[in-house]
Symmetry: C2
Amino acid sequence: MSAAAKSKRSAGRRGAGRETAESLAQRQREISVSEFFLKNRHLLGFDSPRKALLTAVKEAVDNSLDACEEAGIVPEISVDIEQLDRDRFRVTVTDNGPGIVRSQIPKIFGKLLYGSKFHRLRMSRGQQGIGISAAGMYGQLTTGTATRIWSRTGPRNRAHLLEVHLDTRKNRPMIVADREVEWRPEFPAAGKKRGGGTRTASRGTRVSIELEGSYVRGRLSVDEYIKQCAVVNPHLMLHYRVRLRRPGGDNDGEAEGEWTSFQRVSEVLPKPTVEIKPHPHGVELGLLMQILKDSSARTLRAALVQDFSRVSDRAALEICERAGLNPRARPALIAQRDSEALYRAISETRLMRPPTDCLSPIGEEEIVAGLRKEIRADFYTAVTRRPTVYRGNPFQVEAGLAYARPGENAELGAEDSVRVMRFANRVPLLYMSGACAMTRAVTGVKWKTYGLTQPRNAVPVGPMVILLHIASVWVPFTSESKEAVAHYPEILRELTFALQECGRRLAVYLRRRRRQAEAARKRSHIVTYIPHLALGLKEILSLSDRQEAAVVRGLEKLLDRTHLEI
Amino acid sequence: MSAAAKSKRSAGRRGAGRETAESLAQRQREISVSEFFLKNRHLLGFDSPRKALLTAVKEAVDNSLDACEEAGIVPEISVDIEQLDRDRFRVTVTDNGPGIVRSQIPKIFGKLLYGSKFHRLRMSRGQQGIGISAAGMYGQLTTGTATRIWSRTGPRNRAHLLEVHLDTRKNRPMIVADREVEWRPEFPAAGKKRGGGTRTASRGTRVSIELEGSYVRGRLSVDEYIKQCAVVNPHLMLHYRVRLRRPGGDNDGEAEGEWTSFQRVSEVLPKPTVEIKPHPHGVELGLLMQILKDSSARTLRAALVQDFSRVSDRAALEICERAGLNPRARPALIAQRDSEALYRAISETRLMRPPTDCLSPIGEEEIVAGLRKEIRADFYTAVTRRPTVYRGNPFQVEAGLAYARPGENAELGAEDSVRVMRFANRVPLLYMSGACAMTRAVTGVKWKTYGLTQPRNAVPVGPMVILLHIASVWVPFTSESKEAVAHYPEILRELTFALQECGRRLAVYLRRRRRQAEAARKRSHIVTYIPHLALGLKEILSLSDRQEAAVVRGLEKLLDRTHLEI
């Protein structure tokens, strides 16, 4: 055994000895949030190469869409996936968004928990400030490469190209390269699928990440994500390309994938959402204390009006009186001494529900249009529920249905489980359906009432697609990877109501279809007898052949007009 | 409308306007990890009052057990739950552990992501440095109170009492009170359940948290957690008390709960575990680069030996040669330029599996003893698999079974689903069983082969308890709340093998029991005829009554001796 190996045996394995409070204290250390998530990267959606590829695409596209919509730009985005080696891919996402100011680029892409969306109550796709930097961190971990970002903020500004590493020990960006470049976002010319030219935009951002991944088609694939993205974002022009290496595995040239373009069907952006203040009924005691302490208002009454939503001047006074507190007291003082009385008084005071202009639902028409575009079926319907509240957070639920006639759509088997498409703030959710409140709501509805078969505690069976969407200022996901919505009772209830309404409409359609089928059956029965009837009439009334033919035509016409009533 | 209300309307709702790169940049902000988890507290197990109470108890007990075992102290712990108001509880956990050095107390209880267990590869209950400070943060959020900690590190040291808040904006502790006190950990005198005195220890820690909670009995309760804790920690003396307010809800005096003590059945601590280095085959490219960069070794060869486990001097040389690298090169230089070649060479080099003295399984005998103690049944068995590896991390799986005769144990119905008890590093897991690899393994085994009924894709049916334990230096939980184990194929395979072995033994037992039942049936049949036989013999052989009685006795005895072979 070498000296090094020996020293390793003695020094390398601590912990078998007996610890004391002092020896334990010496080993206490701070853990950086990036070290934490690097070790726990399955929490962020990077647990398998296949899912990692999807998650990286998803985080980049979500960011692009948010940026475009906030800047009022009708979005155009390209997603380019290139296989570099057996399990190595480069993901490049380009948008025509507002671009990113140079000084912010390193932090946005090279630091976890950094962003503009966490500290506000407003609906957006991103909400945590983790996604895209986590994708870069995963790329760095598995391939050692830096995230590359091109960005241009306007036609007269020059573009910046940065390469950014994430220092996981300190959770901060390390800039590997930084230079000004001639760059504009480029997109394949729309409409021309083959060899067409390209178009450029005057500003935008491109991010490129190399990572260990795996490209697999199917229900949990990037393809599916892209397709569902197009369904719920009718205003999005989306280009998608996957270039795989030749199956032989040798590096002798690349197999060229081609661009697929999902055209936009609407030039109108979703209604812009506004930021709201927290609603008093959703605020816990500890948070109430914090808000009062931080308040810039000089009196308790003003703080209540200013720092919360839906507290009118009169309501503020009522709260103060009920709590037995001086409305002119300093908020910070109340925070220290009388917050419990205030908290109780707030919970006993009736207040308007939170404002809902912070939400931007897809809308019933758009859902039906989106479903029509991507799913061939016979019956479509959609329901947008009115906004409501869980734990003080406004949210709104939507449901859509597409039902195909038997044999109409090969992808929807009459004997298969219904396909459920889940969306949160317009983002498709593919993984972890079993843990999601939306799946729970679907299995909880009694679909037999509406004419479908349904195994116990399961998704119903039939040639159908169900679309569910929850829009909220804060979607309560069950994990950082944002794949499933937590089971808040208020959310489950709204989902159930929306599904039941869709179900009732489906039942009407199915009954009508059954009646029509029945009528058609009867009609074909009668049609058989028309010639015999005409012949009988001809003999009784001594009609000519021409008259006989006229009788047949007339009877058939009569049947046509009345067949719905038969 | 008042002036305040007006200004609110204009200033309070930003975001409806059009953003530019510049305006977006102004709103980018760092998010502290405690702000993140405060808003996402369901990730930490604080999503409902009921679960919050359990999580707080669990985090405190886990910490106490880890501390005792690391210090080589046979643990004694008391858990005291007191209802202060309808939905307000105080949780107090006291241990006889090594105590905590005064200077470390604020950070351990008032800062997320701080601890001694994250940065090492060694089996322990805690691994993230989040749990107990998150419980305190939740208490602070819901009741505004500080976490109180008493600690004494030895008989001659004075005790400290600290009250600590967590500043969520900065994720750092705020000390509310700090003084030296006369304090020793106190425990109810063992054995005396009523009015008995107390005993004290010379050192230890007590932590007390007030929080919004809800006490509910049942499968997901603190009661169940405590009971399961006793099952897998035979060396633990555990005292438990719940004091609820009178059902009337008035504050006129407290209903006194009484201490329940779970005696230890063993004075022997689990085998102490040692810390290991990462195994090269479980290290990604990016991490390899980081380790080389941080290495204190002066040559690549030495770094490989010193910073990894299972790399002998010879193996290090082999790796260098295969990669075409100079064994004497500076590690940091290799990290920059040749890490990919090195990475490939490592993956192609055969190495011994990681050492497994970092793991401390419960053991087959202890599992059976634990099950016997808490579950009345007829047949017990347990399997401890040999250690193996997922993603470079050593882990080890254990399974136990307890099968009751029909009617033997009222809690185990013959028609009910089998009860599955899940443990990770000796910690009971109660919630999220549906998402756990252990549940998946149970449903995946073909229990019909072993004589049980089993609905498709479900847990088998029968009067049985299954215990599963995974021990690892890093248990891959599906969320920070540590309630379910992720579906790594290696882990699923080991679980399945362990269950199958238990299943085979169960099948032997069930066959034997069936044979015995059959034999008993036959025997009772024959017994009926013995007097007739004796009477016949008596007549044929002209025996006396005494001889006839002797024949009956003799035949019965004969039957007794041979009944197993019938």
